[in-house]
Amino acid sequence: MTTAPQPPETWVVEVSADCVSSGQCIMTAPDLFILDEDGFSRPVRDRVGLDRTEDLRQAVDGCPVGAIRTARG
């Protein structure tokens, strides 16, 4: 008998339309955020491991418009 694989514990990350391209998140965590072709930030991956909680917290706090949303998921 096998157990079903547990879903990974992650953060779901979103950048809202409030982004003003300050680039603070990218300087804080360059592997987690990237600028799209219009120069606005988006997450590199929608889900980020809990081991990156501190980096995410800094990115959330460092955003001058509060555009980064995180939720456990």
């Binding site: 339309a17 003003v20 391209s21 300050s22 680039g23 603070q24 300087m27 120069g39 959330v60 706090d61 460092g62 955003c63 001058p64 418009v65 509060g66």
Partner: protein, 418 residues
């Protein structure tokens, strides 16, 4: 590529005779239509006016550097610049405002914590207390700029930094001296002399406060910065420059925002009635007012390499000025751009009143919160607020700052006509 730089006589006249400094919008409209990337002989600067080109310039922080513009401007004083050693020295340093990544990243990280949305929201009660205290003292007639908005914003930024009450008296004057020097089309020797003195006193104050906080740290930003000087994360020069600019940015622009929002609302009675009915509409009113009367009208950049903007050849070392105040009224971006409409939808279309990109205003959340609390309280306590009968809008003469000279208001029963 366009290598010629044809002069537009009417534009040069408007720049030289001060028209642009008081009433900029007509000239910027003319530039958007006739010369969207324009070399002004009078200013010795490239003026960039359309929304998309302003954006494009701001999004290239390496090619269009924040460092060098001020030095170019001061250099126009010629040999006389050597009479102002503090001024020259100060603007040759790389502080928060005149640095590029990676220095800018390091400096911004050093001071940003108390300006985050999260930190600022915790100041709500303190700001409300300051607002109530000021409004308790106003009479039947008062000037929003000097009797309400400026004392409010000076006290909030001073509290945040930890500048003691007794040391707050002079820095609004020093800020004005600095803004006036850089806000004229050409540097004026008499303004340089006044600014030299102001910078000496300002720096002396900050050096004294850093020493005091080093000896006895408190829970304020000056203590935090003093600690970072100690560990070598920032230099004393970087700290001085950065705090000067936080002190200016912390009050001059928000003072203008509060007054401009009220001015827009009181000159549009239907929208004034709407915010009285639904104070939630104030948020949109503030955004719309700073789009229409953008407090910081222009950015200051210098080209680090030969390049082009929209086909115009820019040479390395030249001053390039993207104009927020023009971008925010560009009809290619905003419908009916000269109309005040507090219901304008900004959700998909930002304005650039706080800039865009690397140097996006650090204090935007604080500016928005202070304006919101200040205006909501004013509205609630004085529903019969109105413009003084004798009021005629006059704007401060500056190429960089858009602010009313005064905004006299009356409350209470209408006065008989004089």
């Amino acid at each position: 590529m366009l290598t010629t730089r044809p002069a537009l006589d009417d534009i040069e006249d408007a720049l030289a005779n001060g028209t642009v400094s008081r009433e900029p919008h007509e000239t910027y409209r003319a530039l958007r239509e006739r010369a969207p990337v324009y070399w002004s002989q009078h200013l010795e600067q490239w003026l960039v006016t359309p929304f998309d080109l302003v954006e494009q310039t701001l999004m290239q922080p390496v090619r269009f550097s924040n460092y060098g513009y001020d030095t170019l401007f001061i250099a126009r004083l010629g040999k006389e610049a050597t009479s102002f050693p503090t001024l020259v020295h100060h603007f040759q340093q790389r502080g928060l405002i005149i640095s590029d990544p990676p220095e800018h990243t390091r400096l911004r990280r050093a001071v940003r914590a108390p300006f985050s949305v999260h930190s600022v929201n915790r100041l709500t009660d303190t700001i409300q207390g300051r607002v109530d205290g000021l409004l308790d003292r106003i009479g039947d007639r008062f000037d929003v700029m000097e009797d309400f908005a400026r004392p409010l914003t000076v006290s909030v930024i001073s509290d945040l930094l930890g500048v003691p009450e007794d040391d707050r008296g002079q820095f609004p004057t020093w800020s004005y001296d600095l803004i006036r020097f850089f806000g004229t089309p050409r540097p004026a020797i008499e303004n340089a002399a006044v600014l030299e003195q102001a910078l000496m006193e300002w720096r002396a104050l900050l050096v004294r406060l850093f020493a005091a906080r080093h000896a006895r740290p408190r829970d304020d930003l000056l203590s935090h910065v003093a600690a970072q000087i100690d560990v070598g994360e920032v230099s004393l020069e970087e700290a001085l420059f950065t705090c000067v600019h936080l002190m200016i940015g912390g009050h001059e622009t928000t003072t203008s925002t509060v007054a401009s929002t009220l001015h827009c609302l009181l000159t549009h009675p239907e929208q004034w009635a709407a915010v009285q009915e639904s104070p939630d509409l104030l948020t949109g009113a503030i955004e719309e007012a700073i789009r229409l009367e953008t407090p910081v009208m222009r950015a200051r950049r210098s080209a680090t390499e030969d390049c082009e903007i929209d086909g115009h050849q820019i040479k390395a070392g030249e001053a390039v000025v993207p104009i927020f105040a023009s971008a925010n009224r560009d009809p290619a971006r905003f419908d009916r751009p000269d109309v005040f409409d507090l219901r304008r939808d900004f959700s998909a279309r930002h304005h650039w009143a706080f800039g865009r990109g690397t140097h996006f205003c650090l204090g935007a959340p604080l500016a928005r919160l202070e304006s919101q609390i200040g205006l909501a309280t004013l509205l609630r306590r004085f529903p019969d607020l109105r413009l003084a009968n004798d009021f005629e809008p006059r704007w401060k003469p500056s190429l960089s700052i858009r602010a009313l000279e005064e905004l006299p208001l009356e409350v209470g029963p209408p006065r008989p006509a004089a």
